[in-house]
């Protein structure tokens, strides 16, 4: 047995916690080795010094003080609704006082937001995905733009934006595609008829633009 292995077991040997065989081996080494014997003596002296530390007593009995504090915590000085928060207050004694300013701050912020929000609604509301502020004036609508908008609105009405399921979504997508093609081709819809007419006119070779031709033709028809 080496001195290093004995040093690592000296504490347990002194406490009598080693197995009998190991204890015998350590004891034999300590008896033969002066360095290990001195080491063991020093550890024993540490134990003696610690056990000689004086035991302390409270300057005055603690029980009455604890009773006073229990009276303070659990007595009649508590507010009436404190029994609702007794568990929380016992676990975190500072949580209730810290919640009061937080609640006040939240109320003030909410009141401020509501006061600011109660003004007149903007004339041109937010357009989803359009960006920009609500106070911006909308551009003056031309006849062609109005027509374009009515077409897009009609197609939006036909195609549901949020399908209920994957299968329903696929069905809705295919049906909306079909219906948009049908609207473009069918002569029943006045918008699509005008579009087809405009397309035909624009396909003719000419130096003027298709839109101006369309506008002139439209004016002429009136």
């Amino acid at each position: 047995m080496t001195c290093a292995s004995v040093h690592s077991r000296l504490s347990e040997w002194l406490d009598g916690d080693l197995e009998p065989a190991a204890a015998r081996a350590v004891g034999a080494h300590v008896a033969a080795c002066p360095a290990c014997s001195r080491h063991a003596g020093e550890l024993r002296a540490v134990s003696t010094l610690l056990s000689e530390l004086p035991r302390l007593e409270a300057a005055e009995p603690i029980a009455p003080r604890v009773a006073d504090r229990l009276e303070l915590v659990g007595g009649a000085r508590r507010p009436a609704l404190a029994f609702l928060f007794r568990g929380v207050a016992a676990a975190r004694p500072l949580i209730l006082p810290s919640l009061v300013p937080a609640a006040l701050l939240l109320t003030v912020i909410l009141a401020g937001v509501l006061a600011l929000d109660s003004g007149p609604l903007p004339r041109y509301g937010w357009r989803p995905g359009g960006g920009g502020s609500s106070r911006r004036r909308a551009p003056k609508a031309t006849r062609s733009s109005r027509r374009q908008r009515s077409i897009s609105r009609a197609s939006a009405r036909r195609s549901p934006s949020r399908p209920r399921s994957w299968r329903a979504g696929a069905k809705a997508r295919s049906s909306s595609k079909r219906s948009s093609l049908a609207t473009a081709r069918s002569p029943a819809s006045p918008c699509s008829r005008e579009m087809l007419r405009a397309k035909r006119r624009s396909s003719r070779p000419s130096d003027s633009s298709a839109s101006s031709r369309f506008a002139i033709a439209d004016a002429g028809s009136r």
Binding site: A45, L50, R69
Partner: protein, 236 residues
């Protein structure tokens, strides 16, 4: 409750009048099963809301809690504050005490946790660096002819011996405060309070093997810190 404690403050209760014998619950007089039975009765009385029983429980354990807290924190006044916190927590949590360990071990566990929390509180405020050695930790001065505290039996001490004892106690306490908290807790519970390794493991909530390894390292560290003192003791 306060009236009862006011009466109690006047030390009107003698050992014979107490509902449960304080001396018998100390553990030294009665055999273990009898002591455990009395302890169970005391806990049951406290749970039923008997204030006298709780006062009795506090009186029985306050010395050990104050000593433990003082050795772990290094300040006598702080130790008394912590002891109050410990007994407040004991009062609140007595309903959760299942009796798997002894009441003493359970109270030790609460005390160690409270000391750990207090130490963390100091560290957050960087107060632990300013802690000086507290003279209050040396205990009452032993006058010649008075039984020595912790020295066993009645020891007649002269002024020279008394000065030596106080110096030695200060050095040991300073060395203790130089240890890590986990090692200090193990060493105090084992060497100062005299618990077994099993009881220390129960009080700290760690395996017994961990207690033994921490104890070994703590003793080694103390041996190095108290080189002059232990060399005298080792050769003696």
């Amino acid at each position: 409750v306060s009236k009862i404690y006011e009466r109690d403050r006047g030390a009107t209760l003698s050992a014979g009048e107490m509902p449960l014998g304080a001396q018998s619950l100390g553990g030294a007089v009665l055999p273990a099963p009898e002591s455990a039975r009395r302890e169970g009765e005391l806990v049951a009385s406290c749970r039923s809301g008997d204030p006298l029983a709780f006062a009795q429980l506090v009186r029985l354990h306050e010395g050990m809690v104050v000593t433990l807290a003082a050795r772990l924190l290094g300040e006598a006044e702080e130790a008394r504050d912590v002891a109050q916190e410990v007994f407040l927590q004991v009062y609140r949590m007595l309903g959760a005490f299942q009796g798997r360990s002894s009441l003493k071990t359970w109270i030790y566990r609460i005390a160690v946790n409270q000391c750990h929390n207090r130490r963390r509180f100091w560290r957050r405020r960087r107060r632990d660096r300013e802690t000086a050695l507290d003279e209050g930790l040396l205990g009452p001065a032993l006058v010649p002819g008075q039984p020595g505290s912790g020295l066993g039996g009645s020891v007649r001490m002269g002024p020279y011996e008394e000065t030596l004892r106080r110096e030695r106690a200060l050095r040991v306490q300073a060395a203790l405060l130089g240890l890590r908290f986990e090692q200090r807790a193990v060493l105090v519970l084992r060497e100062v309070e005299g618990l077994t390794c099993e009881e220390v493991a129960a009080a700290l909530g760690v395996p017994e093997g961990t207690v033994k390894s921490r104890l070994s390292r703590a003793r080694e560290a103390m041996r190095r810190k108290l080189r002059g003192l232990v060399e005298e003791g080792g050769t003696a």
